[in-house]
């Protein structure tokens, strides 16, 4: 395996929240981690809106569409303009509209948030509509790449299916990222300090520090699962939970 294809590792896990299990509902989050193509790794996650009847389908279709759109975009990541990036969102909406027509539904029946990120050697790009967030670790420290959008009430957000999605589409670009953490809204209270609009460092530092020892993807996937199902989390949050991690392998790491 050559270095270029192994530059970025990733792992993630989703669990159905306690409230959803009690109500007999499936996990309405969806995430996907693709393999590296031409030195670019793309990951995405989505949280289906509980009030939308096909939200699980919407979350899956949104994730798969945006991954495919970003992965196949020609040129390097840093050349993608904000205008070009909006096209990724439009493709997702196009697929959702087609799906809703085929099924005799409205696009709103597929409502979901959407978080995506792409990684190349010298560029990391993040996009988001709605809540949840991306936190990035760079050579300078740990910071939020995106921030959850909240409406007037805390349980309201924006969706890729919303008419005003473009105004809620937040891109962010970093040249020196070494790791990134993406999550749906159930993890916000653990990973973020909302009062100061920053990452809650005691929590996220433990996660990022585990990535420094060149762990395997399967080890980190298991650790994420263990964390999401631990009482520290489940006694506080009964929403669906999804968390993905992407980290850069050092150049001399075993391939």
């Amino acid at each position: 395996m050559n270095i270029a294809t192994n530059l970025w590792s990733c792992a993630g896990h989703s669990i159905a929240g306690g409230a959803h299990i009690q109500a007999g509902l499936p996990c309405q989050d969806f995430f996907s981690l693709t393999s590296v193509v031409d030195g670019r790794r793309v990951v995405a996650l989505a949280d289906g809106a509980g009030s939308a009847k096909c939200c699980k389908t919407g979350a899956r279709l949104a994730v798969e569409t945006i991954i495919s759109a970003i992965a196949s975009h020609p040129g390097s990541l840093k050349d993608i303009t904000d205008v070009a990036a909006l096209e990724f969102g439009r493709q997702v909406r196009h697929e959702l509209i087609e799906k809703s027509k085929a099924d005799g539904n409205e696009i709103g029946d597929y409502a979901c948030t959407l978080l995506a990120a792409a990684f190349e050697d010298d560029c990391s790009y993040f996009w988001q509509v709605g809540d949840g967030a991306w936190i990035v670790e760079t050579t300078q420290g740990i910071e939020c790449a995106t921030w959850p959008y909240k409406g007037e009430f805390n349980n309201q957000t924006a969706f890729i299916t919303s008419d005003n999605w473009e105004s809620k589409w937040t891109p962010a670009i970093f040249e020196d990222a070494v790791a990134a953490l993406g999550f749906t809204d159930g993890m916000e209270m653990f990973c973020l300090d909302a009062a100061v609009r920053k990452p809650h460092l005691p929590f996220v530092e433990r996660i990022f520090s585990a990535l420094r020892s060149q762990p395997s993807e399967s080890e980190i996937a298991l650790r994420i699962e263990q964390m999401l199902t631990s009482p520290v989390i489940t006694e506080r949050e009964d929403d669906d939970l999804t968390l993905v991690l992407v980290w850069k392998n050092s150049a001399n790491a075993p391939g």
Partner: protein
């Protein structure tokens, strides 16, 4: 997968309680306005005390309610006293109630809603998600400050608070001025909310009343803010209900 993992590695990322943000729990502020006027002395006060104690003990033992409820207690009997500022159930010091004096209900409403307003501002400042707050008024009389400015202030503040989505429950103990309480409920009701007239307590069934509050608040604290939640039946404590 697990066989690849070194057994010595901490479970997950080794997070413990110390790594959790102090505001990592959404909150449901609850104000109890308790009538301890002279007429409550004897059996009613004993049962109110027993019900209150049982309530705090039970919500403090529930894993979600103990972190998501914040309870403040104001008593009114002769004087108005904030006997408990907002605290999670495990930090509430259960007051020993004693009955005396008249019924300054308007002043108690203002005192309770002052606490609520300050707390909601602080929670918002810290971006802590909030459930609709609950305000309980439990009385066996009528306002002795009726007609005074403080009563009008209480009515005005309660209306404002209910317009800001506070859930208001008036519980009438035997001897309460039902007409006045009904007027209070009606006058402060937001236009888009169904009427919620005062509920009459059967005898001194305070324990059943607080049991109902406990069950309802457990249901609330298991939900997401803004969700519709169905409450248990009130037939165990309210008179004339089926």
């Amino acid at each position: 997968m697990s066989e690849q993992i070194d057994q010595k590695i901490a479970v997950g990322f080794g997070h413990d309680e110390g790594d959790i943000h102090g505001n990592a729990d959404r909150r449901c502020p609850t104000v109890l306005l308790l009538d301890v006027s002279g007429s409550m002395s004897g059996k009613p006060l004993e049962e109110l005390q027993a019900g209150l104690t049982q309530y705090i003990d039970e919500v403090a033992a529930d894993s979600l309610a103990k972190r998501r409820l914040e309870i403040a207690i104001v008593t009114f009997g002769g004087t108005v006293q904030v006997v408990q500022e907002f605290a999670t159930p495990d930090r509430v010091l259960i007051p020993t109630l004693s009955a005396s004096g008249d019924t300054p209900m308007g002043q108690a409403i203002v005192a309770g809603l002052d606490l609520l307003k300050d707390r909601r501002i602080e929670l918002s400042r810290q971006a802590v998600p909030q459930y609709k707050p609950w305000v309980f008024l439990i009385t066996d009389g009528g306002p002795t400050d009726d007609g005074r400015e403080i009563w009008h202030e209480g009515v005005r503040r309660l209306r404002e608070s209910r317009n800001n989505r506070a859930q208001f429950f008036a519980v009438a103990v035997e001897g309460a001025n039902m007409e006045k309480l009904k007027q209070l409920c009606d006058e402060t009701r937001p236009a888009d909310e169904e009427a919620r007239p005062p509920l009459k307590l059967q005898g001194v069934r305070f324990r059943e009343l607080f049991q109902w509050i406990t069950q309802s608040q457990k249901a609330i604290t298991q939900s997401n803010p803004g969700d519709k939640v169905s409450f248990p039946s009130i037939s165990g404590w309210a008179a004339g209900q089926s």
